[in-house]
């Protein structure tokens, strides 16, 4: 039962990943694309949680931990570059 519900959640998350990708394609400025990349990162973090649940290995959540820390650095670097250069 929980497998079915989590699969439905994964399908919805894949659709939202595609929608965020559309904004990354056609955003007019670089800040729009950075916002889309940030949203894609957070959606991918949930997707990694789903992969960890489906395969039943807790080690996969470590990847999500690393990703949550590292992507923040990338977004802050993009913001500082857009503002005045790193």
């Amino acid at each position: 039962m929980a497998d079915l519900l989590f699969n439905i959640a994964a399908v919805i998350m894949m659709i939202s990943l595609v929608l965020a990708m559309v904004r990354l394609l056609l955003g007019p400025t670089a800040a729009d694309r950075a916002v889309a990349l940030d949203a894609m990162t957070i959606i991918a973090l949930s997707l990694i949680g789903w992969i960890a649940f489906m395969s039943g290995r807790v080690i996969y959540l470590d990847v999500a931990l690393v990703y949550g820390l590292i992507s923040f650095v990338g977004v802050v670097a993009i913001a500082r570059y857009v503002e005045r250069g790193v």
Binding site: V18, L24, A30, V63, V66, S71, G74, V86
Partner: protein, 85 residues
């Protein structure tokens, strides 16, 4: 289920890579290549390689983005007048 997700992720990766080729401004292209490495990291995780996924996340998403942007801001140099986005 898994195969469909792998195919969709691969297609998204391809679209992001082509976008990174054809964008006019350089910082947008750097952001698109960051999206490529993000999708590649999920794909490695689906192929049951968590250590490769962790390395791809650390290097592809943070380190190359920061190094590219640092190089761009060094190359831009004194010319402050041109549009930045």
């Amino acid at each position: 289920m898994n195969l469909a997700i792998v195919i969709i992720l691969g297609l998204l990766m391809l679209i992001a890579a082509v976008t990174a080729l054809y964008l006019k401004t350089l910082s947008s292209a750097v952001i698109a290549s960051g999206a490529v490495s993000l999708l590649a990291s999920i794909l490695f995780l689906l192929l049951a390689a968590p250590d490769v996924a962790m390395t791809e996340a650390a290097i592809g998403s943070a380190l190359t983005t920061v190094v590219f942007l640092y190089a761009l801001s060094r190359m831009r140099g004194k010319k402050k007048e041109e549009p930045r986005d």
